[in-house]
């Protein structure tokens, strides 16, 4: 079985994003970028499945600017076998990302596609579900545990009330949640080796996918800023404050 892992280059999670003064978007110039943390979890899970002898090959894919190569090299250094960059400088919306991924899946015929549940930039939380619909395949979103058993996969999902397990027939699409695993760091020798692993470059046009946006962002604004309040001296003062709120 082959596993396809789409990885997105996003602002590093330690960086506090700043809105541009003209309200046209978020300032990404000279900001540290990294692999979306949920995608690191997806790469890690794919590697563990391969290490358990249940997959033969891991293909990482990214849709984005030339620099997304770095993100793909990170996936290769972690343990992916080869990579595909679909290069574009446009902002590609999740629906178009899903269409490109579907075209790649049609060629590669993976048994599993492992994606992040959401990217921490746009927080859309939709690419995996859209891909599953376009492929006409089942989806296991917000995965906490994945178990492959022959031609089906059981996914324990993190849901609002707790956990839920569903059984999906393979090929299936799974999106990762935080508790699925702790991603490994790439070792120096593996980072060196990754430089020699194959990385193909394509364009959205190669797949005949129209990436024209359906949504226009007309304005990006700072959220209302919360002012820090006061610090109280001791517990007794806090008790007074809480009583004044009328909740105790």
């Amino acid at each position: 079985m082959k596993i396809l892992v789409p990885v997105k280059r996003v602002i590093d999670y330690n960086v506090k994003p700043r809105v541009k003064a003209d309200g046209s978007g978020v300032d990404l110039a000279n900001v540290k970028m990294s692999m979306n943390p949920f995608d690191e979890i997806a790469v890690e899970e794919a590697i563990r499945i391969k290490e358990a002898g249940k997959a033969e090959e891991i293909v990482a894919v990214s849709i984005g600017p030339a620099k997304a190569q770095e993100t793909l090299r990170t996936a290769l250094a972690m343990g992916a076998d080869r990579a595909i960059l679909v290069e574009t400088d446009e902002e590609v919306e999740p629906l178009a990302v899903a269409k490109i991924l579907k075209a790649i899946a049609d060629e590669e015929q993976p048994g599993l596609v492992l994606l992040g549940k959401q990217s921490i930039s746009d927080d859309s939380n939709q690419t995996g579900q859209m891909l599953a619909a376009l492929m006409g395949r089942p989806q296991g979103t917000f995965a906490n545990t994945i178990e492959i058993d022959g031609d089906s996969v059981s996914v324990k999902r993190e849901i609002d009330g707790g956990l839920e397990t569903v059984k999906l027939t393979i090929p299936a699409i799974v999106t990762t949640d935080l508790r699925l695993n702790e991603p490994r760091y790439a070792s120096l020798p593996n980072i060196m080796k990754a430089k020699k692993k194959p990385l193909d470059t394509k364009t959205p046009g190669d797949f005949g996918v129209d990436i024209a946006p359906r949504l226009t962002t007309t304005h990006v604004a700072e959220p209302p800023v919360r002012q820090a309040g006061e610090k109280v001296e001791d517990v007794a003062a806090l008790v007074e404050k809480i009583k004044a709120l009328g909740i105790a």
Partner: protein, 310 residues
Amino acid sequence: MNTLVLVEHDNNSVNDATLAVVTAAGQIGEVTALVAGNDCASVAEEAGKIAGVSKVLKADDAAYGDFLAENVAPLVAGLMDGYDAFLAPATTSGKNIAPRVAAHLDVMQISDILSVEGDKTFTRPIYAGNAIATVQSSDPKLVITVRGTAFEKAATEGGSAAIEDASGPGDAGLSSFVSREVADGGDRPELASANVIVSGGRALKDSETFEQIINPLADKLGAAIGASRAAVDAGYVPNDYQVGQTGKIVAPEVYIAIGISGAIQHLAGMKDSKVIIAINKDEDAPIFQVADIGLVADLYNAVPELTNAL
């Protein structure tokens, strides 16, 4: 415009998350509520009473009983001929189903809206709520998920909508439900809709300590219990307690953060709370930058003392 709202329920009663969606949908147009489930007649009746709902569609079929996206999404897509917009709550269930509907309709989903600005214009948070984008759709139909804390809840009484039966393709044969482990919170309010939340962080050490320190205070205040990601990852509490960018978004009257540093991912989930109270031994902890009331203290002394005094 005609809107179709996905009613979230457990085959017995309507989940509160639906009520904010009805309000959002009402700002776009007429509201039809879709109850897809198994033996869900009581839910359909309850949905018909929600103020602002003008019609209820009931799709009662074993295939919809566990809300599998593979089965529910084609049902919704099939019904959309008569509607301009589909709205679902931004809960784990809504987020699971709505994008699949969007792909069936070949439209982009607008995720987690905060406000309706026009027929096809909405605001939504990006970058963990550090920026608010105004987005306009050019798609022929809209698929939207709604942030529950951003809209008033519609009243549960006052409507008298007629109930019609609807049907779809049924079981897609792609997936099956196996089991659900849902903790019984007893009398404790639900995190997403609680008036008061007491949240604990990494400082709580382990699950016993968390329970000893946090639960009595929550009991005193009739509060729901939340946690930071660090506390969940370390196994102090289950995953559904996580508040934050990638957990639950909450906006209670009062949010009490105990031993939580205030990382941006955590703030993203709670900074719209009316009053934020923080207890942390580090006076420079970022949580104090958003707290209305702060107490710099060791939680192991302060929290039991507070609980006793209330």
